[in-house]
């Protein structure tokens, strides 16, 4: 398993050709407590940069983007009842979607933990 980060403040935990995607602690802190999370349905094919989910705080809606090309396998159903899990445990129980990679070579363009730490300064 390898952990990657994106400049959109998302993380991917990759295992074979599947990845779990969520937002980083930094992003969770910036968004504040979430009140609603909606993921696109399983089976949706997305290109890198397209929305896989929307998260809403009191103040604003934010898209969660596909970091690489692939297919949504599963949304985190627990977030429908308790979207604040994303705020309290963004890199654990607050994961957002499971994703099947269609072009794993795209992972090379993402950051590791060290690079992301430097990116957010």
């Amino acid at each position: 398993m390898t952990l990657y980060f994106t400049s959109e403040h998302e993380w991917l935990r990759v295992d074979g050709d599947t990845a779990v995607v969520g937002i980083t602690q930094h992003a969770a802190d910036e968004l504040g407590e979430l009140v609603f999370v909606e993921t696109r349905p399983a089976g949706t094919q997305v290109k890198a940069g397209e929305a896989v989910a929307v998260v809403e705080s009191v103040k604003a809606a934010s898209d969660i983007y596909a970091p690489v090309d692939g297919e949504i396998v599963e949304g985190n159903a627990a977030l429908a009842d308790d979207p604040s899990t994303v705020s309290s445990d963004p890199q654990g129980a607050g994961w957002i979607v499971k994703f099947r990679l269609s072009n794993p070579a795209q992972l090379d363009g993402l950051m590791n933990a060290e690079a992301y730490a430097a990116f957010i300064g």
């Binding site: 504040g32 407590e33 009140v35 609603f36 909606e38 929307v54 809403e56 705080s57 009191v58 103040k59 604003a60 809606a61 429908a80 979207p83």
Partner: protein, 378 residues
């Protein structure tokens, strides 16, 4: 504009930083969006205890008639607003709007009648334009922006307990009363009013006293600082308009369901009927009705329906009947809350409409405003 260095600071800037305020640009000022607790917790704290808001970015303006009488200043101001200002008693406050020739709203404001003058509180984003508007139209008055004053709001069910511990007179005031109170040695002009739907006070004081007084108020364990984020969700639940979103130059006070703020004396047949910009249009709307109205909306589900979302008569999303002007998640109701304009035939409380959100329909019911009952001390 745009860079942090160009933003203005209120007299409480250091305090915001000391308390971990997340500062954002707002109407040319660096203002706290929230503090460490976050918007949800701050919102709930105001509904349950007391919140302290810095609203020093708002404009405070003193108007004195050149003749020296307050009544002449009131008569002059009535040329610009549809409210009864002549009839406003000393030490009372009233809500009104500056209107334009087509009946639209240039800004909404509070007017305080003091013994010697009128004091106006206007929106931060409009204050330069308001000042010019008054300079141009109130030649018989001295119009002075009070640049050296701060404005605090103390809001919540325990606000009276806190403020009366500094000056017992705070407890004798009723909603929209104005009183000179002494808070930690500072002479303050205090009104019992606010923008949250809760009981509370708005406190105008010298900029040099503001930091000290705010820190004294925060010594009470029930009092916490509250940012602009919760201020917005509180006012939305309370059904109060945000200038620039819910009201602007294209909406009239009648369309905005603010006709309660136009007293009888200024209406057709009243002692000083009309005489303000757009009076012909506004007075006719009061008698004949309007084609659209501002209403409260309760969307179903949990997804907030926000500013700009179109409203339709039904799920087909074909027959557009209005638009959302403010929408957020309401922490008190733990549900989405919104307001918007809808065509009058669809404006009755209980009407089922459908808002469009990311391409699909969200059933949304027209609801009476306020969406959360007000708890003013009338």
């Amino acid at each position: 504009m745009g860079t942090d260095s160009s933003l203005l600071h209120t007299p409480l800037h250091t305090l915001h930083q000391d308390f971990g305020g997340k500062m954002v640009p707002f109407a040319g000022y660096s203002m706290p969006l929230q503090y460490a607790d976050g918007i949800m917790a701050e919102h709930r704290h105001v509904r349950e205890q007391v919140g302290l808001f810095d609203v020093s970015h708002m404009g405070q303006v003193r108007i004195r008639a050149r003749s020296g009488t307050v009544e002449d200043a009131a008569r002059a101001l009535e040329r610009l607003v549809p409210a009864d200002i002549v009839g406003l008693k000393t030490n009372r406050q009233r809500y009104t709007q500056f209107t334009n020739a087509s009946g639209g709203i240039l800004d909404d404001l509070m007017v305080i009648a003091l013994e010697e003058c009128l004091l106006l509180v206007v929106n931060a984003a409009c204050k330069q334009a308001d000042f010019a508007h008054m300079q141009d139209n109130l030649a018989d008055c001295l119009v002075e922006p009070l640049e050296d004053r701060a404005l605090l709001a103390l809001q919540g069910p325990l606000a009276q307990d806190v403020l009366s511990s500094f000056d017992a007179d705070a407890a004798t005031m009723r909603f929209m009363d104005v009183c000179m109170l002494e808070i930690d040695g500072a002479r303050c002009i205090v009104s019992r009013s606010g923008y949250t739907g809760e009981d509370g006070y708005e406190i105008s004081l010298s900029a040099k006293d503001a930091d000290r007084v705010a820190r004294q108020l925060l010594q009470h364990q029930q009092v916490r600082l509250i940012g602009l984020g919760a201020r917005d969700s509180l006012r939305l639940e309370a059904g109060l308009c945000l200038y620039g979103s819910d009201i602007d130059e294209t909406t009239t006070p009648v369309e905005a369901a603010l006709e309660w703020s136009i007293q009888k004396s200024r209406r057709t047949g009243g002692a000083r009927a009309g005489g303000f910009p757009g009076a012909d249009i506004i007075l006719e709307q009061l008698e004949k009705g309007v084609t659209r109205r501002r209403v409260g909306l309760l969307p179903t589900g949990r997804a907030p329906v926000r500013h700009g979302a179109p409203l339709y008569a039904d799920e087909a999303l074909a027959d557009k009947v209005g638009e959302v002007t403010s929408g957020a998640f309401g922490p008190t109701l733990e549900a989405p809350v919104a307001m918007g304009y809808v065509a009058t035939p669809h404006a009755a409380v209980g009407t089922e409409l459908v808002a469009e959100l990311r391409g699909r329909g969200v059933p949304s019911r027209v609801a009476a405003l306020p969406l959360v009952p007000a708890r003013f001390r009338r």
